[in-house]
Amino acid sequence: MVETKIKNQVIEVTIWATGVLQDAEGRDTANCIAAAAAQEGKHVQAFDNYVDLPDRVNVPVRKYARISSEEIQEKYLYENDHPNIVVLVEPSLIKGYNILRGMPEGGILILNTDRDPEELLKFVPNKELLRAIATVDAKVDEKIVDDFMDIEGASAKTLGRGIGAVLAGAVAKVSGEYTLESLKKVVQNKEGAQKGYDSVKIKQL
């Protein structure tokens, strides 16, 4: 039998947001993460969950970023089946959905809230999958992207203008998949990226 390498190693990041209010921000967060990793020569993808769209006010929407040190072989998929990192742009979604679905052990959960990570852990029935839970308050004084032109299938008009930079900064700190410097090179809101990196509250599990 010929020995075949059958697994393509890809770090999967799944971002959950609420429709309309955070659709563009969720997409932007995925774009920021992918662009930062690309700065370091990684192979990356960022895309929307197709069936979540068209988005509706308050409907959960998922955005995906994928990072790999080698070329991504299965590029044309609809979903991240096994997210290593999960980011909730809207923390309330933690109550309603199995946000860690498919996560391999040792995953990371980051929520956009001013609450403490411990407080939210009670809503995660499968918390044994996590190596860390973290919270970062990205919602304060950051402008929500509010523009019709930030729509699925259209080009990204900006990168990291709003809270996406803050969340991507937090992801950099908690996961170490890319550096804050790489992130700052790609986002407009450089202060936000720094703030996310500095202010994220991490609880190691």
Partner: protein, 109 residues
Amino acid sequence: MSKPKIPKEKQLPEGLIVDCPKTEQEQMTTGGWRILRSVIDQDECTHCRVCWINCPDAAISVDESGDMKINLKYCKGCGICAATCTVGAISRVPELDFDEVVVYRDLPY
């Protein structure tokens, strides 16, 4: 030419003709969408039914005693009820303040 059989778990009704629900579509619970939960102060409520008639999700019902009851399985938390309440008897409280989990889904849909 023989075609593969469709396994039971994948089968769909021929022509995609599906059953109608009677009172609620349980395949599509939307309570998990909610960021702010509406809470009715029953002492203030005048039973005018304005919140009930204005709910796009039919998530408010009138119980036997005439009280308005919010169906948290489906309420998306839009806040129309609070905005249109004639006596300001409905407040909106962050969902995360409640320990109670009403709907928990493996997948959004």
